[in-house]
């Protein structure tokens, strides 16, 4: 079970309160987003491009005090995230003042 923290606008959009947990087919960033989009179709296109699956430019992925944003989507998530001790944080980058 992987814990995920979404930025507030996406939580509101999807009707989510607080953290969410998911069981992705693969314990990777791409796997987690696949699971999120399957459960909350409204999130399709809001985190990554629907066609290319590239991360949207102002979205960041943090976990265990590391920036995973530029890692490949098939990177296996850190053990602490896979074991549910730490969340995968999806963050809207600070931009625009």
């Amino acid at each position: 079970m992987i814990r995920v923290v979404l930025p507030a606008p996406l939580r509101i959009l999807a009707g989510i309160e607080g953290e969410i947990c998911c069981e992705p087919a693969t314990e990777t960033i791409a796997g987690v987003i696949d699971a999120l989009e399957a459960r909350y179709p409204v999130l399709r296109g809001t985190i990554r491009d629907q066609k290319s699956t590239a991360r949207r430019p102002f979205i960041r992925f943090f976990a265990c005090e590391e920036d995973l944003s530029h890692e490949p989507g098939d990177l296996v998530l850190p053990e602490a995230v896979r074991q549910g001790r730490e969340p995968l944080i999806v963050l809207g980058a600070i931009a625009g003042g």
Binding site: I12, L13, Q50, F58
Partner: protein, 371 residues
């Protein structure tokens, strides 16, 4: 009793303003989609409870929302806008080729007859159609596939398709307007398009008779006279009497012929409205006086309308999609400003009141007349 529902898109959400037919006392509902840019909302003429909304964000991209109860509840529908065919690139500001890239939906135009059919004008400029209430979108790629498509360049706001006029006679004509490519008309329901810009003059183009490249800000028509099209161009207010084949200037005595919005009175196809803006570098009204100008002669002769509007110290803008008219009698006129005010006139423009003053910057205004 009749009433109106004004749909307001802003930089930080959508608002719905409602009033009875007197249009004096208003209730304000919102924000819907708070924090997101809502470039446009529009109701279906065939089913006023069906409203489509474009919700977007630089962070999170495009969401399309649909309501089936007049805006009380919303459901996210399809948001995948995939370009199909067409040229691989358009021109960037510096004239270099740039791949087409979807950014957002600027304008949603529901079918006049079928609530399930809706068109979307997007950035980078393209026209999409949904036949299932917004769940799935297909590009009408005949527009971008016009031989000029690879030469289109963006205006300051991006390469956007911002206006869609559907055929009020039930025929196959579709007008679109693109900044800054110009007007394109289809005569076959959107399969093919051709530029309709003869008579437009743009001083930033070296060729006086340029086929494309004109920064058309908005076009409007009256359903009883579909061959007459009015245009607020970057500079110049223009008119066509032959369905866009030829244009002539009708700026007349306007204090400035720069502006963004233009609309037509619901009961008189020769009565039109604009909001003059000082210039393309000074996006506020001349002398800080917010004024609507009305022509009862389809242009050339204009009268200033200001009763109830700010007489001084007003430095807001009125954007291209931010003016609309209702169908009541007398016709109501509405516009929103980048300062967050929405003004309404229940008497064809003679008098105005601020319906609401402190919304986020207004991007669009549409009106539904309810029975």
């Amino acid at each position: 009793m009749s009433g109106v529902r004004v749909l307001v898109g802003t930089k930080k959400g959508a608002f719905i303003l409602t009033a009875d037919g007197a249009r004096e006392i208003w209730s304000i509902d919102g924000p819907h989609f708070g924090g997101w840019e809502v470039y446009h909302l529009k109701g279906s003429p065939a089913d006023p409870n069906r409203i489509y909304a474009s919700q977007s964000s630089g962070w999170f991209g495009q969401v399309v929302q649909r309501s089936d109860d007049g805006g009380k509840h919303w459901e996210a529908v399809g948001n995948e806008f995939a370009y199909q065919g067409g040229p691989e690139t358009h021109q960037w500001y510096d004239g270099t080729p740039r791949p087409w890239e979807f950014t957002r939906v600027w304008h949603l135009e529901p079918s006049l007859a079928d609530p399930e059919v809706v068109y979307a004008g997007v950035q980078d400029a393209a026209l999409f159609r949904s036949g299932d209430g917004g769940q799935h979108w297909s590009e009408l790629s005949g527009l971008r596939e016009h031989r000029t498509g690879s030469a289109w360049q963006p205006g300051a706001g991006g390469l956007c398709l911002h206006t869609i006029l559907l055929d009020p006679t039930g025929g196959e004509k579709i007008f679109t307007a693109i900044s800054s490519a110009g007007v394109f008309r289809s005569d076959d329901g959107g399969q093919h398009f051709a530029p309709k810009n003869v008579g437009l003059r743009s001083e930033y183009l070296p060729d006086d008779d340029a086929e494309i490249g004109h920064c058309v800000h908005r076009i409007a028509q009256h359903p009883s006279r579909p061959e007459v099209i009015y245009m607020q161009k970057h500079w110049d207010v223009m008119r066509s009497d032959d369905g866009g084949e030829h244009w002539h200037e009708v700026s007349g005595n306007l204090p400035s012929d720069f502006g963004f919005c233009i609309d037509v009175n619901a009961h008189d196809p020769e009565t039109i409205y604009v909001v003059p803006i000082t210039s393309d570098s000074l996006h506020y009204p001349p002398e800080g006086r917010l004024r609507v100008w009305r022509s009862r002669s389809g242009g050339d002769q204009w009268e200033e309308l200001g009763r109830g509007l700010p007489d001084k110290d007003c430095y807001v803008d009125v954007l291209r999609d931010a003016m609309a008219v209702d169908q009541l009698d007398p016709c109501g006129i509405y516009f929103g400003t980048t300062g967050g005010q929405v003004y309404g006139s229940p008497d064809g423009g003679d008098t105005w009141q601020a319906i609401v003053r402190d919304l986020p910057a207004v991007l669009s205004v549409e009106v539904q007349s309810l029975t």
